[in-house]
């Protein structure tokens, strides 16, 4: 029986504090060990906190003194993490340091709990070894993902960029956490477009690709469905390389939508006549799931946004029955 390992609760982390210059420069408090990646707007380092020896992730961003001022993506991510960090399935922001570099430019360091890998690396590791991720592991990871998304949506926030690279993992515990909220938005704000933002297309919901301006939480659910399929097969489900190609990929596999399966689709701004493909069975697209798994996947990848299963409902789906038993609710 699959269960999520429950660690003893850690001592409550000190609330994030913000410090401005003064005292010690941010880098005097931390020893950079290696660069481990790039977030939406900055480089990420593995680092050691000198005072405690704790390993953390430092996300560094330089603030050029240009017309933009403090970048919106940085503001949104920090503000949202200040709101969301208490959930175990959202990466924890430990501190925020503001300093100045040698050229006199302002530098922001976001100090996060360190997670040793991400879902993208995890999947790729299995793919290169020619092995599937065990079904029980897929289920545990998906359950945590749905819990994190349910929490974020419950706080009125869209992530908008859910993809394996933004889902951090701890290899030992199989803990999974949502990260990189730089493109997140409050649900109440209509979003006209991804302004000047270049994003992976593979996890993008069809209503966004068709130019809808009033999209909402279902766009994240679509991403969850794509990630679910990828966990099962080790391959991205819809790997398009342009917006049109992305749409065609989806339509070829799931069938071209019409007014019956998706009322209103014909009125979306980017809609026009597409080749009429018939849907392929999910069991052929994503071999390796049981009936409950296919049922959940189908509900995550519903064309009509209003019919896509909410994350909170997904947690109650029969697919997660054995995982839920181990959940200390």
């Amino acid at each position: 029986m699959a269960t999520i390992q429950h660690q003893a609760k850690p001592a409550v982390a000190a609330a994030p504090s913000t410090t401005t210059g003064g005292g010690q420069r941010a880098m005097d408090l931390y020893e950079k060990l290696e660069k481990v990646g790039e977030g939406t707007y900055g480089k990420v380092y593995r680092a050691r906190e000198k005072a405690t020896g704790r390993i953390v992730a430092l996300k560094k961003t330089r603030l050029p003194e240009d017309d933009e001022g403090v970048p919106p993506t940085a503001m949104r991510e920090v503000s949202l993490l200040r709101m969301l960090s208490q959930d175990p399935h959202v990466v924890r922001l430990l501190d925020l340091k503001q300093g100045v570099n040698k050229e006199g430019q302002t530098i922001l360091y976001l100090v996060f709990e360190y997670m040793d890998t991400d879902l993208k690396k995890f999947i790729r590791g299995h793919r290169s070894n020619n092995e599937k991720i065990p079904a029980a592991t897929v289920k545990i990871l998906m359950y945590q993902l749905c819990k994190g998304v349910a929490f974020v949506h419950g706080r009125g926030v869209l992530h908008r960029d859910l993809k394996p690279h933004n889902l951090l993992m701890d290899r030992k515990t199989m803990a999974l956490k949502i990260a990189d909220l730089g493109l997140s938005r409050a649900i109440t704000v209509p979003v006209k477009k991804y302004t000047h933002e270049i994003l992976t297309l593979w996890y993008r919901a069809p209503e966004i690709l068709l130019g809808a301006t009033h999209y909402s939480t279902p766009v994240d659910i679509w991403s969850v469905g794509c990630i679910f399929a990828e966990l099962v097969t080790n391959q991205p489900l819809f790997p398009g390389d342009s917006e049109l190609q992305q749409l065609l990929h989806i339509f070829k596999l799931l069938g071209t939508p019409n007014e019956q399966v998706w009322p209103g689709v014909g009125k979306l701004p980017n809609w026009h006549e597409y080749p009429q493909w018939k849907p392929t069975k999910l069991s052929a697209l994503v071999p390796g799931l049981d009936a409950d798994g296919y049922d959940l996947l189908e509900k995550l990848l519903e064309y009509e946004p209003a019919k896509r299963i909410p994350a909170k409902k997904a947690l109650e789906h029969p697919y997660f029955k054995d995982v839920r038993k181990g959940d200390a609710h």
Partner: protein, 361 residues
């Protein structure tokens, strides 16, 4: 959860020429306004969608979080005493409203800007006798609010339209932004009355969808409340419940019980409602807000051509001379985030001067 209907209305308005309507409703034009809105919704070719109300869970989360997004408790009392803070606040809000209308920002942006202003003023003592700090704070608060909520945010130089007495360089605005951010501990995802208004309007209509008029009127009232000081001590959830009751009460008799839950106290909502009704009575009819720019319908594509008003000659000269004559001092100023507005000499900052705008971007 889906976008609030007020935001759908705001978004629709933003697509038209009359983008300031949501702030400047004339009573007689409401029915026509509704028809125009509906027509625009249709012509945009989007399917009509029913937006669900924020869930009980979502509302509970907001109520839990909202205290962290309010000014310090003694702030309302200080303002009622009049004096410097009240003058600073009034001047700042006047300017924010003008720029807000000029660019056609959404109502939530205005509400957030005032939230940041109030929280900052409740925690930080601006140096007295330096009126340019009020202006700089206004620019920073509106800029931060727009970045949190708008799709398009003008560069900070272009943001400084209207009859501003001072114009600040981008790096000066950035330093002020950083001061506001650290003072507010980067809690910019503020809970505001807009977070709740759909929820309460639904409750007062026994779960039915509020009318377009009610949504627009609610937004108008929330901004009027934000602009004034009468409800400063009330929580956003209390303001939202009271506004919903006031608006619904314009259409039919309202039992305020329906707006109150175990999370919102009826007595406080009633007092808030009384304060709002008193304010509305005093201010009716609404003072129309006029856009300051050449055209209130200007498109965003041309906003970069907006003329930045000239600084007063004395300030311009003093600022430029000071900036050029002492590179070491300028470098020192650059390394201290708050020094730009801590100057003891006179009423200006070395960074306050015009400069030629970059042509790119």
């Amino acid at each position: 959860m889906a976008p609030s209907s007020y935001e759908m209305a705001a978004s629709t308005l933003l697509c038209g020429e009359d983008s300031s309507s949501i702030l400047d409703l004339e009573a007689g034009g409401q029915e026509e306004e509704e028809e125009v809105l509906l027509a625009r919704s249709r012509t945009r070719g989007e399917p009509s969608v029913v937006f669900p109300v924020p869930s009980e869970e979502c509302v509970a989360g907001f109520v839990e979080a909202e205290a962290a997004h309010m000014p310090r408790e003694d702030y309302a009392e200080r303002l009622r005493g009049g004096g410097t803070d009240l003058r600073v606040r009034t001047d700042a809000i006047d300017w924010i409203w003008k720029v807000h209308a000029y660019y056609g920002f959404g109502p939530l942006t205005a509400c957030l800007a005032v939230n940041y202003l109030d929280r900052f003023l409740s925690l930080y003592q601006l140096p007295e006798g330096k009126s340019w700090t009020t202006q700089l704070l206004s620019v920073a608060c509106l800029s931060l609010a727009a970045k949190m909520e708008e799709t398009y945010v003008p560069p900070s130089l272009d943001l400084q339209v209207g009859d501003a007495r001072y114009v600040f360089e981008a790096k000066t605005v950035q330093r002020m932004e950083l001061l506001v951010l650290s003072t507010l501990r980067w809690r910019m995802r503020a809970v505001t009355p807009f977070s709740y208004i759909d929820y309460f309007l639904h409750r007062l209509k026994d779960g039915g969808a509020p009318s377009r008029r009610a949504v627009l009127r609610s937004a108008e009232l929330i901004l009027r409340v934000a602009r004034g000081t009468c409800c400063l001590g009330f929580r956003p959830s209390e303001v939202a419940a009271a506004v919903a009751a006031a608006v619904a009460g314009e259409e039919h008799a309202v039992d305020i019980d329906k707006a109150c839950t175990h999370r919102v106290h009826e007595e406080r909502v009633s007092r808030c409602l009384e304060a709002i009704q008193a304010t509305v009575a005093l201010l009716a009819p609404a003072q129309p807000l006029k856009a300051e720019g050449p055209s209130s319908g200007r498109s965003r594509a041309s906003s970069s051509s907006a003329t930045v008003p000239r600084s007063p000659t004395g300030v311009l000269d003093a600022g430029c001379l000071s900036y050029r004559s002492d590179d070491a001092a300028a470098a020192a100023a650059a390394s201290h985030a708050s020094s730009a507005w801590r100057d003891e000499d006179g009423d200006c900052s070395p960074a306050v001067c015009s400069k030629r705008r970059k042509t790119s971007r």
